[in-house]
Amino acid sequence: MARMDRSPSDAALAHRVAACPSVDGWAAQRRRAFLLGLIPALVVLAAITLAPALYLLVTSLTPLSLVRPAETAWNFSRPWTNFVALMADARFINSLGVQVRLSVVTVSLQLLAGLAVALMLNARSPFLEAVRTAFLVPMVLPPIVVAIIWKVLYTPEISPIHHLLARVGLPVSSLITNPRAALWAIALADTWEWFPFTMIMILAALQMMPEEPMEAARIDGAGPWQLFRFVVLPLLRPTLLLATLFRLIDSIKAFPLIYVMTNGGPGMVTEVTNYYAFIQAFNFSYWGYASAITVIMVAGVFFLSWLITRVVGTEVDIE
């Protein structure tokens, strides 16, 4: 309400304020401005992520085969056929089992190796910093280069490792063509490539760890193992869970190693689900079927992410 005794300039100000939108109105305008600013980015995001995902989903409901596109594209007469067929496809079910085994082994090995190396490198010295950088090399190599390196290492005829072992009287047969060893061979190569990722996450967590709890534990007489078991490890828990989540999701993309080293073989022992989808799409041109496989994979990854995020979230809350 305007007061009678206020100056003319006050009145003008009050008039301007009255003419302005309310504070709420201003906030709404602000939100709209942000939204307008975001729209181009959202459109791009939708175009490059949501639209292909939607197309994948739609395609999975058709029998699309590129050899017979006229009959099969946009044919929704039996939308669940691919999914029903997948449930009876022994090769697909086998690929899920291979995928689970590979993911469990690689993620476990990467966490263990990453933790061990991070603990060894957790000190401030120029030498260790140089060593840390060297450990990062496998992670920054193109995956196809890693695959070729390991293919050479696993080919007895030309492998320096096989030659060395043979020379000392411990000859080892080809691992990648041995059905009992091939998946382990892939897991080892994958671990070599990706343990630096877990190492660097854990190392960062170690270096940001507060000194006080450890100091207190030492005063209480804790030895190195007790310090690690009861202080360091609980403090690292959220980082380890996060690293597990990242590596688990990434392990499902273990394609180049398999493509170069084993082609999914011998037989189907290293044929993971994405490789099977690749064969269906790129060798057989069954895009509808391959899309259905991929939809199941995407759903699995979402579920896994949701599950682990919940666990991580709980852990972070506890901390």
Binding site: S65, V67, I176, P266
Partner: protein, 457 residues
């Protein structure tokens, strides 16, 4: 003969002809608008500045062709983006590209195994229009000079040509260390029984493994399958019922897997064609049944450590006969290309008699598909390797394939079955299943794949 230089001399006769033609056109009131002249004709370069995208899988001919590309560009003004990925990568990438009828490529290889599928789906341009027009194809380019067996798979059902073959990939045998076989008092194997006998005698002698072949078993196992009297389909291309679980197929799988298990280098199941060749070039493995285009490199002293000890023979015969594979791959123009005229200029150049002759003389290329070059003394001379008349083996192999046993390979669903066979041989060789179980598995899966592809069985 294709011209070495890009310019044809203007003789008095051609000058007079051109003048008369111009007068005639003026008299009739018809002004002929010439089609864009072939690039090698005259000093003009009508396609100058055009960029062609060309892709072919990595084999000797396409790889060596890259060395000659600057000459093509100089002659025509056409620039070429050229790539030669590996065989599986090429096929996967191009199968997808062709299905979209995209215009990313202007010249592509027509892979033998995909010819029926790619041509049948209308993904390649019929070349008859180019061939009929003398302005586009001079008579001396001579399409009739190509081996009929090599060009046949590149035609559609009406007989229209969709590509010209740069290779008649023929399956034969070589022994890099034939001296070891001779020392054992034996000769080059001529039958499957001979193979076993020879390998028993020479395997691991002087550290040299006995046997190798490439891990594309949908190609390298089939001559053994047919040699035992089996086949992939019951009666291709009319009856595509798979017969992979026949007693003959089981016997062939067991025999072949035994060769790989017993006599091949450790890890042979992972050997693609380049590795299979290299182990022989280095003298680490002795006997190989493989493709002629690669095997001739064993006789090249600049590449091979076994050039002075190598021997060649026809692919061995089984109890039911000799069935060496022959596969033709050729250059064609994808339907989606927007530069078809320039693409045809490229094909004419790459598939000319002159280019084949130069490939033969300058690079030692042996899988020539032009009869005039094959019948030349140069071919005989170049293809006599360490005293062996490989030219004769090549021609005999192609003649054998004329019997029609390769029909299984150009049916549109073979790519699916091909991959199953790869897996089946791996399963038997690595002892994950018995040959019988494996071939039953292959049969069941082949039927399922064919039904999914819409084949009525």
């Amino acid at each position: 003969m294709a011209q070495k230089s890009g310019k044809r001399p203007v003789t008095r006769r051609t000058f007079l002809k051109a003048g008369l033609a111009a007068v005639g056109a003026g008299a009739t009131g018809v002004v002929a608008v010439p089609r864009r002249a072939p690039a090698q004709g005259g000093s003009a370069k009508p396609y100058a500045g055009t960029i062609l995208n060309v892709s072919c899988w990595s084999a000797p001919y396409p790889k060596w062709l890259a060395d000659f590309l600057p000459e093509f560009t100089e002659r025509t003004g056409i620039k070429v983006n050229y790539e030669t990925p590996s065989f599986p990568v090429y096929n996967q990438r191009i199968d997808l590209e062709l299905s979209t009828k995209g215009s990313a490529y202007d010249v592509l290889n027509l892979t033998f195994i995909y010819t029926s599928r790619w041509i049948g789906a209308g993904w390649f341009t019929p070349l008859d229009e180019f061939l009929k027009d003398p302005n586009r194809t001079p008579p001396d380019w001579d399409p009739g000079d190509f081996l009929s067996g090599a060009i046949e798979p590149l035609k559609d059902k009406k007989g229209v040509i969709h590509g010209f073959p740069w290779i008649a990939d023929s399956f034969m045998a070589a022994a890099g260390r034939y001296d070891l076989i001779q020392k054992a008092g034996l000769k080059m194997p001529d039958t499957f029984d001979d193979i076993t006998r020879v390998l028993k005698a020479v395997h691991d002698k002087e550290g040299v493994k006995g046997f190798i072949t490439e891990n594309h078993y949908g190609w390298s196992w089939i001559p053994y399958l047919q040699g035992f009297g089996g086949n992939v389909f019951r009666n291709p291309p009319d009856d595509l019922m798979p017969v992979l679980n026949s007693p003959e197929a089981i016997e062939a799988a067991e025999y072949f897997a035994n060769l790989l298990r017993t006599y091949a280098p450790d890890g042979a199941l992972s050997y693609m064609y380049d590795q299979a060749l290299n182990t022989c070039l280095q003298g680490r493995t002795n006997y190989i049944t493989f493709n002629h285009a690669w095997l001739v490199q064993l006789g090249d002293p600049q590449k091979s450590k076994v050039a002075s000890t190598v021997a060649y023979s026809l692919a061995p015969a089984g109890p039911k006969g000799r069935f060496p594979g022959v596969a033709a791959h050729g250059f064609g123009i994808p339907a989606g290309s927007k530069k078809k005229e320039a693409a045809w200029e490229f094909i004419k150049w790459a598939m000319s008699k002159e280019m084949f002759r130069r490939m033969l003389v300058e690079k030692g290329y042996g899988s020539v598909t032009r009869r005039s070059v094959i019948e030349s003394p140069e071919f005989k001379k170049q293809m006599t390797l360490n005293g062996y008349d490989v030219a004769d083996l090549y021609v005999k192999t192609i003649e054998l394939a004329g019997k029609g046993y390769m029909k299984y390979r150009t049916v549109h669903v073979y790519p699916q079955v091909d991959k199953l066979i790869d897996k089946a041989i791996e399963l038997v060789t690595s002892r994950q299943m018995s040959a019988k179980e494996t071939m039953e598995w292959a049969q069941t899966n082949a039927i399922a794949e064919l039904k999914r592809a819409g084949v009525n069985l």
